[in-house]
């Protein structure tokens, strides 16, 4: 336990940790704080109002959304694609515009998802790929506004099952996962690099303590430290909800449950990647790999941000609604989170093996070198 506290103290007083805390708290608050208002307590009554979007399995809604967007983009000759997750504006030649129009007409005839994919595939090719019209990305059009009845059911779930805080906690978990998927890796690599900079490794490696105990203590201390800004923001957001909803039956633990159940597994993985990367490369190479993983996850997640769990390292639920989707897919999310927790343990096991090999002089780090000419 004493070693844990010494590691914790060293970790939480490092410059990398201070910067991580500032960025994490800032990122979460900037994205979640403005979304917290008194609106959730108001029951929907207006049958003509446009309510928030929900995920739908209705093909016609998907098709209508896709074709409406394509029609608009075609009319303006202003398309957007998302190579590596970054938005890119695309304009087409007159000839290509004609082909898009033909594809649009063909897509109008499509009466199955497969038919629609086939019709819109050429549009994606004309745009250079990574567009919303790519078969794998069409799912993002599978949304529609709630009806009044659905909005009422959604409201009931928010008030009775989420108890308001649970709704905000989902948004908080969605945003917090984005940042803890990437930053802990670099913080951990910097933390481990301090060993090399201080030339302390041979001294520590020659001591009697077994690698598993040492690594697990270090890992636990790091994870505890990395959770601090997450829990701090959870506390701040909870305070804001309490102030905005006086007298409401709130779930006071909702933010902390979201932090533990939803955010923590992502953080466990990105932290383990940091340790594994240090053991594997002995430099900052692993951070580049984690950026790649993060970008891919973000791109896949962006197909449907208001409720998208599957096997995403960052499960998405960037909405204060679509509550029934969350409860209907809760077990999917739980399996996802359990899976990533296990993956973090596997990464930690690999790190142990590599550290043991290093301790015995059998492995000195895998270094990427530019190819010789």
């Amino acid at each position: 336990m004493k070693l844990f506290w010494l590691e914790f103290k060293r970790f939480t007083t490092s410059l990398a940790f201070v910067l991580y805390t500032l960025v994490t708290v800032g990122f979460i608050l900037l994205n979640v704080w403005p979304m917290i208002d008194r609106g959730l307590a108001t029951a929907p009554v207006n049958p003509t109002a446009r309510y928030d979007l929900i995920t739908t399995t209705d093909f016609h809604a998907l098709k209508t959304n896709a074709l409406d967007q394509l029609k608009e983009e075609h009319a303006d000759d202003a398309y957007v694609t998302y190579p590596f997750g970054f938005a890119k504006n695309v304009t087409l030649t007159a000839g290509a515009q004609v082909k898009v129009e033909q594809a649009l007409n063909q897509a109008r005839q499509a009466d199955t998802r497969r038919g629609l994919e086939k019709a819109l595939g050429p549009v994606d090719q004309l745009l250079g790929g990574h567009s919303d019209y790519q078969a794998a990305n069409l799912q993002r059009f599978a949304v529609r506004p709630m009806t009044l009845a659905e909005a009422r059911r959604d409201h009931t779930l928010i008030m009775r099952k989420d108890r308001i805080t649970g709704t905000y906690a989902r948004l908080f978990a969605d945003i917090a996962s984005i940042i803890v998927c990437i930053l802990p890796t670099i913080v951990i690599i910097a933390y481990c690099y301090a060993d090399r900079r201080a030339q302390i490794r041979p001294t520590m490696q020659a001591k009697a303590m077994g690698t598993p105990k040492w690594l697990v203590t270090r890992y636990a201390a790091s994870v505890a430290g990395l959770l601090i800004p997450v829990l701090m923001t959870a506390l701040l957001l909870l305070g804001r909800v309490i102030l905005l909803y006086p007298g409401a039956a709130l779930d006071y633990w909702a933010f902390f449950k979201a932090a533990g159940f939803w955010v923590l597994p992502t953080l466990l993985v990105s932290t383990a990647v940091g340790f594994l990367s240090d053991a594997l490369f002995s430099n900052f190479t692993g951070f580049a790999l984690q950026i790649g993983w993060w970008l891919i996850t973000m791109m896949i997640g962006a197909h449907q941000v208001i409720g998208n769990y599957g096997w995403l390292l960052i499960p998405r639920h960037n909405s204060l609604h679509n509550v029934s989707f969350f409860y209907a897919h809760y077990s999917e999310l739980a399996i996802n989170r359990l899976g990533y927790t296990l993956l973090a343990i596997v990464f930690l096991g690999l790190t142990m093996v590599l550290m043991n090999l290093q301790r015995e002089g059998k492995y000195r780090g895998f270094h990427l070198r530019p190819a010789r000419r």
Binding site: L3, T13, A198, I200, A208
Partner: protein, 295 residues
Amino acid sequence: MDTIQINHLTKHYRGKDTPALNDVSLTISAGMFGLLGKNGAGKSTLMRILTTLDQATAGSIQMCGIPITQRAAIRAQVGYLPQNFGFYPTMTVSDALTYLAILAHVPARDQQRRIARLLAQVNLTKQARTKVKALSGGMRQRLGIAQALVNQPKVLIVDEPTAGLDPEERIRFRNLLAEFAQERIVLLSTHIVSDIEATTNRIGVLDQGHLLFTGTTAQLQTQAAGHVFASSLSVAELSAFKARYEISEQIVQGDTAHIRFLATAAMPGASTVAPTLEEAYLYLQSRPTRQGVRQ
């Protein structure tokens, strides 16, 4: 049985033509033992193998009766001060020692008492709350020796511990080592002959992975007896002389240089003198190649 027995130890690094250690056999018993050699002689490789941080390509080692392959048991009884010892700069001396005491499996109930005693022994009690980055080079090395002793090891291995220290700190550090050698094996690796001269008379000399000599300093000096001479010559002759002989000392006074040098046979005009340890070491190292000792 407090000895280190090294039998036919060889270490090849991948991609290197010559071995870092070549069939080294050596027995080290309790007390201080000096391992002398130039940079790159293979001393640090041997230290790393003895501390289980590297593995031999061939050969075996028994440390106090335990084979080196039993790493956990070896680590429990070895204290190691590596070359370029460092620690987290923002940690206090006390925390640093506590940290390493935990890694060395010192029981929690003994830690504070043992650390206080070690700090007193290495004269760092006043610096207990000082951050490591605020320590001088000498203080840092003393912290290094304290951490190496924290598990009360039977074997203390110190690699080039006095490099970079000022003369006062060097003497203080050597005295500490001598003190600690009274109750354990201390293996001191260095390229500084005066460190050996001041601390022990039992040495081994490594050169390019070969163990050139093992025995007492007196035996080494005896080997060089009759091969060290003193003479005086004009400063103008000095360059030509240097090309032929290994000069171990030169004092220039006006146009005259008073020199001590190594040669294989007596020379006219030069008087035979008793070799110092440094000269005996030079003689041993230069014996196969230098013209001065081939004559």
